[in-house]
Amino acid sequence: MTDAIDTAKTGSAAAPARSVGTAQIVILAAGLLFLLLAPMFLYPIFLMKLLCFALFACAFNLLLGYTGLLSFGHAAFFGGAAYFTAHAVKEWHLTPEFGLLLGAAGAAFLGLIIGFFAIRRKGIYFAMITLALSQMFYFFCLQAEFTKGEDGIQSVPRGHLFGVIDLLVPTNMYYLVLAVFVIGLLIIWRFINSPFGMILKSIRENEQRAISLGYSVQYYKLGAFVMSAALAGLAGGLKTLVFQFATLTDVTWQMSGEVILMTLLGGIGTLIGPIFGAGLVVTLQNYLATSDFPVTIITGVVFMVCVLLFRRGLIGEFYASRLGRKLGFEHRQ
């Protein structure tokens, strides 16, 4: 309990309190180098899909891991933004960068509405409300004119970035996705290490204490919700540009479940855990896509195993292990 207050205090005094050790920098640099070179030996579409979902999972983790709110409706933001971006580039002929921004803004707006209702309750009720409202959005997408119902928005043009760079060239598209992914991660990193993020952590640790310290907890929660929705939307819009379509699949509750799984599997509340989680889930889906064995069964079993046996997730368990601690990682309990 005292921890929560301490973090909140240091948060408001000096922002980036966490020190970054050498080990982390080396791992980060290696990861970035890998992603820069990856398209030489891995299928670019697969990599781009992976990065989109990784960003989505990180955005989701911003809410669950750092604010302690479990949203069961993040598909609404991911899939909603996919529709917005698709509509903006296809019908309004906007350039991809504005399409992406519009998608993120639309998702943020959706997040504002859904969050406004959801933050009125806590815990499991919060989860159920977000699930119900995102299902409502699903029905809206099913019936609305601009989403083209069951068909979805097809053959979305990738267009030219800034009007110059042709995104139909796979390499260009890949590096755009990578750039957006890195920017997204930097935003998240900056956000959770800002005074705002510190207050969010204090809410996660002890909400009553945060209220008694005079913080308007509801506004902070809503802020985090909108931020998370916007970044999830950025990922959704990016996915639309990569695959050149937006369909109902991305707004279903199954998608909301998938992003929870990615985060849980990788490690809730770790910055890079969701990236690994997304990588594993996307790889698994790709691997099973050719067989007729349904992914849902495996997803479900992995869910149960994660919850029962390693709730810290792969990266979380690594951080907590002896090797992880030796390398200077810390993991909160």
Partner: protein, 295 residues
């Protein structure tokens, strides 16, 4: 022909009946959720899957063993209840000390697994289950035509709801349950086997869901996806009613079912979402829910 608000009386009553039927299922399912939540503090996402299991059990018992509807109405809930009890004893019980969100995530995984398995085995398409001969046909009430099976569903679900309410409010076992909801440790100190009580409760909740599933089999198509589609709506019902009271869950279930049916008459486009809209309005006006005590 008589008209109500410019709608023919027949159409109005027909939709009202459909609303009442949907309401019966919402009530039965949200009742089961409330019973489980009351004691275990777990939101049972697998409730929809257990409802689907009930319907499939009836279908499979009929097609492989020739067991008819009436026997299935008893056997299917027992089987699913047993399955629930096993799941609780072996896995779910390990999660009680943790944040309730883990219970939700675990049962979500369970629901995905069950649903995926049935999709793999029986395909996503729905399969018909015929109405038992004794309840086939319909009767003309003078102002509307009532299919007998539908009337039966409304009556039986009402009986099941009231029965469960009586079990919890008026019997010794119910008194133990309520006491354990209030203070688990104290009840255990009085020598009552609380872990067994928890297992029984989860089994009972699962059995209720399966019972609703058997009832639903002749009305809706039996399909692996039938459970999750309804459970999300039931979650909204639970948010509206609050899980504080058993009676609250029942009343809210029927009310929202009827509201959905009436929306179909006046503004069909909104009928899928009307319950979610009501949920949003209730959250604005009474955030704790209509009958809710806790936030």
């Amino acid at each position: 022909m008589m008209m109500i608000f410019g709608i023919p009386l027949q159409a109005f009553l027909g939709q009202l009946l459909i609303g009442l039927i949907n309401g019966s299922f919402y009530a039965l399912l949200s009742l089961g959720l409330a019973v489980i939540f009351g004691l275990l503090r777990v939101i049972n996402f697998a409730h929809g899957a257990q409802y689907m299991l009930g319907a499939f059990a009836a279908l499979l018992l009929l097609s492989y063993l020739g067991i008819n509807y009436w026997v299935a109405l008893i056997i299917a809930p027992l089987l699913v209840g047993l399955f629930g009890a096993i799941v609780e004893r072996t896995m779910l019980s390990r999660l009680y000390k943790l944040d309730p969100l883990y219970g939700l995530l675990f049962t979500f995984g369970l629901a995905l697994t069950i649903e995926g398995t049935f999709r793999y085995l029986y395909g996503a398409a729905g399969q018909p289950y015929s109405v038992p001969p004794a309840l086939a046909g319909g009767t003309n009430l003078g102002f509307m035509f009532l299919p007998i099976y539908r009337g039966w569903v409304v009556v039986v679900s009402l009986v099941a709801c009231i029965g469960t309410w009586l079990l919890i409010e008026k019997t010794r076992l119910g008194a133990y349950l309520r006491a354990a909801t209030e203070d688990t440790v104290l009840v255990q100190a009085f020598g009552i086997n609380v872990p067994l009580l928890l297992t029984l409760t989860y089994g009972l909740g699962s059995a209720l869901a399966a019972f609703a599933g058997v009832l639903a089999a002749p009305i809706y198509q039996v399909s692996p996806l039938m459970g999750t589609n309804i459970i999300i709506v039931v979650f909204a019902v639970v948010v509206v009613g609050g899980m504080g009271s058993i009676m609250g869950a029942i009343v809210t279930g029927y009310m929202l079912g009827i509201a959905e049916g009436l929306t179909k008459v006046f503004y069909p486009e909104a009928s899928n979402i009307v319950i979610f809209v009501i949920m949003a309005v209730v959250l604005l006006l009474r955030p704790a829910g209509l009958f809710g005590k806790d936030a």
